[in-house]
């Protein structure tokens, strides 16, 4: 087993594969000198899980074999990185010991902490407790929506950064739409319990979404955090984040967005900031202390929404700056914090939010994207998966 590579990439998710593909397009001579380390054998296109949970798409469309996506010229090591030693330029793997690198790209994604909500792990997938955040259980969301006969449908957003900040509300809008079609909307109450102070960070889209909430008659509770589920009694326990008081809420179905954190291997390493996230410069994506280390994606401390669209803009910056560093130049490419969130507001309607670090809209289309549109729904459902599998993961989009 080879123990040294010019470039080691931790994580063969959206970030890792995009960077490997782009780097090999730019510098073909790096072939066989780029190592991707990831323990998974499957690769998931997670943005589709919102639609899977709402019964609009089959979940099999969201998964592909990892081997089929590894760029030609990159080497995939199916192993788990358990530690980083940036001073010795090496990573520690679970089964293959230490591997040395000249340059390191860190992009292992985000870790879901199911156990931080008491009673969630045991109840998930049963007793009308569902979550779109797992391939195994995403079907149960659709089963729960179909079986819902009225009462309180509760949707939550945790007090932690999450992958795609808009996802917790998307499934709620779809559920409301489905309940209207299935005839149970009139005898049901839809409630959103969110740790955030408002429905969305960017003013333009927040105003549009507030109108959606009004139209759909959705009850909102902000600055509240789900701490426990008593599944047998169908009771959710929340903490008010301002007063720190706890209160209970009865439900007939609950969709939980679980708390998330940086992977333990990063949290416990010298690469982390005080919050446990990978500590990179927000513009160059170079590590703040180790100049041969770069990072992108959900594991970083970048102050923007953690989305695949953000990674699409981060990957070229990482590749440009890493190659500059490799050839003795000063890394000058910058990332402006661009992120995008296609907020599904129903079957056939979507608000396409795009913005930067300053929370200023950065819209790609020549029309007002804060308006709910059928065309943007088609874009998300039918075209973005294609652009992902065949464009982004090949380094061409």
């Amino acid at each position: 087993m080879r123990k040294h590579y010019r470039v080691v990439i931790v994580g063969a998710g959206t970030g890792g594969i995009s960077v490997a593909a782009r780097m090999l397009r730019e510098k073909r001579h790096l072939a066989d000198d780029i190592l991707l380390i990831d323990p998974e054998t499957k690769h998931y296109y997670q943005p589709l899980w919102t639609l899977v949970g709402a019964g609009a798409v089959k979940k099999e469309e969201s998964v592909r074999e990892m081997m089929s996506l590894i760029p030609d010229g990159a080497i995939w090591l199916q192993d788990r990185v358990v530690g980083f030693d940036p001073e010795a330029n090496q990573v520690e793997t679970a089964d293959n010991g230490s591997i040395q690198y000249d340059y390191l790209v860190v992009s292992p994604g985000i870790e879901i902490d199911w156990e931080r909500i008491k009673g969630l792990k045991e109840a998930l997938g049963t007793k009308q407790v569902c979550s779109n955040y797992s391939y195994e259980h995403v079907d149960y969301t659709w089963e729960t929506l179909r079986g819902f006969e009225g009462g309180t449908a509760l949707f939550t957003h945790p007090a932690s950064p999450v992958k795609c900040g808009g996802a917790p509300q998307k499934i709620m809008y779809l559920a409301e739409d489905y309940f209207s079609k299935s005839g149970v909307r009139e005898n049901s109450n839809i409630v959103f319990g969110s740790a955030n102070p408002a429905i969305f960070d960017v003013t333009k889209y927040r105003e549009a979404l507030e109108k959606v909430l009004d139209r759909k008659r959705i009850e909102t509770h902000f600055r509240v955090n789900l701490t426990e589920i008593k599944a047998d009694e169908k009771v959710a326990v929340f903490e008010n984040l301002d007063s720190h008081e706890t209160f209970e809420m009865n439900y007939d179905m609950i969709h939980v967005t679980p708390p998330m954190q940086a992977p333990a291997s990063i949290r416990e390493s010298k690469l982390a900031d005080a919050g446990g996230w990978l500590d990179v410069d927000k513009y160059t994506l170079q590590h703040k202390r180790y100049e041969n280390v770069f990072g992108l994606g959900d594991c970083t401390n970048l102050p923007t929404s953690k989305t695949g669209a953000a990674i699409r803009k981060q990957a070229p910056v990482v590749v440009h700056n890493l190659l500059d560093q490799m050839y003795g130049k000063v890394p000058v490419a910058t990332y402006d914090g661009y992120s995008s969130c296609p907020i599904v507001t129903g079957y056939n309607s979507l608000i396409l939010a795009e913005f930067d670090y300053e929370k200023v809209p950065q819209e790609s289309m020549p029309f007002n994207q804060a308006k709910e549109r059928h065309s943007m729904y088609i874009l998300k459902k039918d075209f973005l998966p294609l652009l992902y599998w065949n464009g982004m993961l090949n380094g061409t989009m």
Partner: protein, 186 residues
Amino acid sequence: MERSTTEEQTVETVLTRPDVEQALISLVDRLPKIEQSLRRLEDAVDFGMATIQDEEVKDKLDRVMDSSNIQVETLEAAMQLIEKLPMLLQVTNQLEAMFDFAKDVYQDEETKELIGRRVEEYVTPAKEKVEWSRATFEEVQRRVAEDDRQITLFSLMKWLKEPSVQHGLKYMQATIDVLSERSAKR
């Protein structure tokens, strides 16, 4: 205006400087090589001059130029193209990325299957509607051909009770009302 320090220096003082002295020694040491190089340069210049003055060579060059399409315009265009190279490289990269994307879609069986499913999803409802309209039209045609009844005033009165006829008539009535009101306002 002040005079510079260099200008105030005499040849003697400059020659006594160690760095100048060292440079002179080095120069003298390399003189044979320099002389050799100068001779070669002189030979090359002589050769160039002889070639330019050689009528046969000039005629050959003229014939080559005449038989080719290279003109002043060609050279100007070449210069302009070189100036545009950075932009052309960018466009080429974009085209290459688009081509690679299209090629990957074409070669990817899973994507082709996905596209097929999506097309079917959108086409099926439209196909069903077309099929329904065609079947309805054929049924109407068949019944017209088979029907030898005389249409009477009584038949017309029966039609009036049909919901679809009522809807059509109400639509006509509303159109007449709106048109009358708007005409009156003018």
